[in-house]
Structure formats: structure tokens, C-alpha cells
Amino acid sequence: MTPDARGGTEPHWRRDFPIDWPEAQWVARREFVKFLMPVSLAFAVGQLWLVWRGWQRSAAPGPPVARIARVSDAPVGGAMLFEYPVGSPSRLLVRVDGATFVAYEQQCTHLTCPVLPAVERGELVCPCHHGVFELRTGRPIAGPPRRPLARVALDVRDGWVVATGIEARTA
């Protein structure tokens, strides 16, 4: 009975917005299953899509081997910017000691500010939020970044430092 006492039935939408609290909290098993099936299907499809994307990324050929700098031009403790491949965001080459070169993407993994080398401390420092990366490995050691910097695989051939590939790392 509606409150206007005309004896009509409750409007249809009242079933979706009941006055009584327990009815509003109640979910039928069939409704729950109807919700659960597409959602679990979507999760499964999403997992397969992630696997496919990972396979696609690993199967794609990396950039070609490129010369970056002469070994004789790079002082120990010095750093230089380079593009590898040409046209990509700048990367940072650092000569840690006589035989050790490291190269990373210059974008901080927190909010993509350019990181600056602090070779004497053995660190790469992002000035935006004081994120600190280890110079030899590129791993985050302080501040907001949680992922390591993307590393460029290097080799020394015929007096040249050459880039042979990019290691995109997530952990």
C-alpha cells in the first residue's frame, strides 16, 4: 500500500531503492554470479594480454649497435649525454673507473626528471624529489623511485665505447 492510500502498487524502481536497509544490502546469488562471470573473464583476458605484450616486446629486435664515444675522450669520473638510438630521450654515459663504463636512461623512474651524476659519491641523483640511484647498477637506494633506471648494454671495441642494446628493467 502506497502512502497516498490509493492502493496502487509500489513503483518499479522501488525494488532497486528499497526503504528497508536489509533489502538494500541483499544481493541474490544469481546476481552475484552474473557479476562474477564477466569480471573473472576480464581478469583472465587481461592476464593473457599482458603475457602477449611481454612476448611481443622481447621478440622485437633492439636498436642496432652504435658507437657512442672514444675511450680516450672519456675522462675517469666524467659523464656525457648521448642518444641511443638517435632521436630517443637522452641517456647518460659515465666512466666509473679506468675500465668500467655504465650508461642509463636519464629519466628518473619516479616522475621522469633528468637524473644527474654524482660520481664521487657513486650515485645518480634526481634533484626533483631527491631520488638517489646507485651508479654501478642503476638501482634506487633512496627517495621516491622504486624501479631501477633502464640500462644500456655497453662494450668496448677498437677504442670505442659501443652500445649493444637496452635493458628495460622493472625490478
Binding site: 492510500a5 526503504i19 528497508d20 536497509w21
Partner: protein, 216 residues
Amino acid sequence: MPVPEHLEFFIDPSRCIGCQACVQACRECDSHKGQTMIQLDYIDRSLSTQTVPVVCMHCDVPTCAEVCPADAIKRTEDGIVQTARKPRCIACNNCVLACPFGVPKMQTSMNLMMKCDLCYDRTSVGLMPMCATVCPSQALHYGTREEIERLRPRSTPIDTFQFGAQVIHTRVRMMVPRNTPPAAIDVTGAFDLAPAPQDMAPDPMLANLYVEEPVG
């Protein structure tokens, strides 16, 4: 925890002395945010000292909830119509205008309709509502039906009200004379009364009486 089914709220207006203790006690309830939600109505202040405490009657078909466009007024499993849910209430005043008993109050400072919820934080853990706790003349009583029938041999509780064509059954009971109980209490009956005969001589005692009407 729901309010126990066997405990009921009884209003006995004939016992009300208008002391406002219930009005003050209502503020103290933790869920009332310092606002009082019981009203003390004067029947006809110039002629009588009679007062009536008005709490929410907790209707079986709550008109306030029926008219709410925002689905803000909900009734819990024990039949208690709750204050509007704060995230939903749009302060439209529909419930304030629709309630036959004039219970919902719009708190404009909060943009929230608040109403008597039978002190849900107290009654749901087995305590009495604040107003029934303090009432010195037992005009507000919270207890079992057997208890009230033993305490009030000349009254009987009634739960049926008439509001125009609408018949309302309530969870809160009103006490009426036991020997001549009405079928229903006509809420708007006072509007339908015939006007007083005009040829009645004015009462000299009342003619020069200055009556201060309640403000607000």
C-alpha cells in the same frame, strides 16, 4: 545489534507536564550531534497547559522515506527509521513537509535532515532512549507491553493513526483511554472541527489576558 522487538515506546500525553527534560536530554544522545530531535507541542497555549512530546512514530510505511528523492532515509531491520544518510541527503525538505507528525527537522547548518532515531546508539545496545530515561512523569515510557498494561490500568496503547485518507501503523504507541479506545487517532482531526459558535459571550477573564505565544 537490532533494537529488541519486545521493547516498545509509549507516549502518554495526558501525563506530560511540559518540563522540557526530554528536549534537553535528547541533545545528549551521541548520535544526535548535539541537536534535540524531540519536540514539545503546546495544544492550545492560551487555554491549556497541555503539552505533547513528539518523537518519531517509526511508521510501517514511512512517508518521509517514500517521498525522499535521494534514497537517503532508510529503515533498519528492527523498524527504526533512521536519520537521513549524510552522503545522500540533498536537503530538499520533502520529508519535512510530508511527515504527518512533523518529525523530521532540517539542520540547515549541516544540510542534513535529522530526526528522532529512538536513540539508536543506545537502544541497539539495550539501553533506554534518552527522553524516556529522564521523563519525570513517565509520559514517555520504554518497555514491554505487559509492563505498560500493568502500570496504566486505565489506558491502552494504540498504533493506528489517520492522516486524511492515509492509515498509518506505527512502531511507537500512543496511550488512549482503555474503556473507550478509538479505532484510530485522527492526526488532522483538529482541522475538521466545526468553528466555535460566534454568539458566545466573550469571557471577561480571557478578554484582557495578554498571552505570550511561543517564539520559534
